[in-house]
């Protein structure tokens, strides 16, 4: 067993680095830029039941040490995912996590049912935290009752590993995390983006066509670490951490806070090779610290 290998439920990850939802689409475009088979896994763009056109442009603005996005879940929808996007993922020799998003609980259940028989993917990530769509999305993740309903209804129809992706835009993330755990989640993925806004002072107009968006990138890293630490103390299931990871040291920091796996998002835009560069560095870290496996540091922040 490699020193970076880690197991979450029945699923083995060759290293703890996954590529976050919404960053690499369905993998195909990134094939030329990064050896996808060397990462622990890739998470697809969230798919919805019907195709979504997405939000009014501009959808991206850079902010200090980060970016706001308001993509609005533009995606081809379930049917075209099955006919056009799935083939590439089927051939990929790494873990595939399918992310899904719905406007209603019925949507989530219907997508789950439709993809359940596919055997190329091992994990279902439920996005109840997208800040950029008017109906559904983040509403489910902000309300403990809705979180309970959507997770338990999906649990009832799926035997896959179930990750619930949480929004940080709540007062008590520990509460939502516990609800998701009790409703049957196998792990929690966090954080999705922080709600944000930027205004052009010359025109007086919002910089994003959608007015508001989600903040990601290094700017949110300390906020994300705190949320992970909160959730780590609140639940007993594993955490998949993300939010501003830019280098191997950040991965170690997330793991110390309680994440067993991590996802890299916006930083891939700057440097698609980041995950590949981090792998040997993490190996050196494990050896240098005299550990048997990187897994040993999960949640081991030392608080005197």
């Amino acid at each position: 067993m490699s020193i970076l290998e880690t197991k979450l439920g029945p699923v083995i990850f060759r290293n703890p680095i996954l590529l976050a939802s919404g960053i690499v689409g369905f993998g195909e475009e990134y094939r030329e830029l990064i050896d996808l088979e060397r990462v622990g896994g890739i998470v697809t763009k969230s798919i919805s039941l019907l195709p979504r056109p997405g939000n009014k442009p501009p959808r991206i603005v850079e902010t200090p040490c980060g970016m706001l996005n308001s993509i609005g879940l533009e995606n081809p929808g379930l049917e075209r995912f099955l006919t056009e996007k799935k083939q590439f993922l089927e051939t990929l020799k790494t873990n595939v996590v399918i992310s899904i998003a719905g406007s209603s609980i019925e949507d989530y259940v219907e997508i789950t049912r439709a993809i359940e028989p596919l055997d190329f993917f091992s994990v279902l990530e439920i996005n109840i935290s997208c800040p950029n769509v008017r109906e559904g999305g983040i509403l489910f993740g902000k309300d403990p009752h809705l979180t309970e309903s959507v997770v338990s209804r999906i649990r009832a129809v799926s035997g896959k590993e179930l990750w619930v992706k949480l929004t940080p835009n709540v007062t008590d993330i520990g509460l939502i995390a516990r609800v998701a755990e009790e409703a049957g989640a196998d792990a929690l993925a966090l954080v999705n983006t922080f709600e944000g806004m930027a205004i052009d002072i010359n025109t007086g107009k919002p910089k994003l066509g959608n007015v508001i968006g989600g903040l990601s990138g290094p700017a949110i890293k300390p906020l994300a670490i705190k949320k992970i630490w909160d959730v780590y103390q609140a639940v007993n299931i594993p955490i998949v951490g993300m939010g501003g990871i830019c280098c191997w040291q950040d991965i170690v920091e997330f793991m110390l806070a309680g994440a067993q796996l991590v996802q890299i998002g916006s930083a891939l835009f700057a440097n698609p090779k980041l995950p590949i560069i981090a792998i040997p560095k993490l190996e050196e870290f494990v050896v240098g610290k005299g550990l048997n496996s990187l897994n040993e540091i999960v949640g081991k922040v030392i608080i005197d």
């Binding site: 501009p58 991206i60 850079e62 990138g217 290094p218």
Partner: protein, 259 residues
Amino acid sequence: MIANLKYRIIKKVVHNSGVVELGFDAPEIADYGLPGQFVNIQVSEKLPHPFLRRPISIHDITVNGEVCFLIKKVGTGTKMICDSEIGDELSLIGPSGKPFTMPNANCTPVLIAGGIGIAPIYFLLNRLLNEGFEPLLFYGAGTSSEILKKKELISSCKVYFATDDGSFAKQGMVSELLPQHIFENSGEFCFYACGPQPMFKSLAPFMKSHNFPCEISAEENMACGIGACYGCSLKTKDGYKRVCKDGPIFELSDIFEEQ
């Protein structure tokens, strides 16, 4: 083929009004790059800000494999890229996007550049000249000193200039010159344009009324730059399209309807 490598700067020229031309020793990009395509340049490896790459059109690919960019400083990112020196290495991803479509043999290509829009138009012009076309160029800028490579352009094709302040050639927008001069030439025309939004808007009615095909290079903020994130979507006649993958070259009438 898309390269994702660090390349060394081997040429730096500071043009009029602070526009900087950088030449990279980038053989992979030189082999595949076509007019209209762009490269996503990482501003700095060290800093977490500016965080995103900056898309810059390919301005020229020389016979010895040098890939050149012509960059106008508009903010932090372009300023930092322009401050790079010969010998520095920057990470480039590209060539990306859909190139300009080459014209039919019997067509007269008409190139229209506004301001820094000359960057990709120059590359297209040189390719067209190499292939034996006799292109016309309409080139407008804010003021006389913002017109780049004037002598070289005049010696290579028929150029019509305009400046906003009238400090050189005709005063006004370059699009105003078109109706007057285009019909001095006969035959079939196909148009290629790159410039600011107002230029595209003012071209739209002319192109539409004569039913002329006109390809433009569009802009939108980008994140991935390779078609994966849907961050650069632009509204077109057929719904949202990604500037980085479905473009940056689009048909003018697909984006700007006649107002």
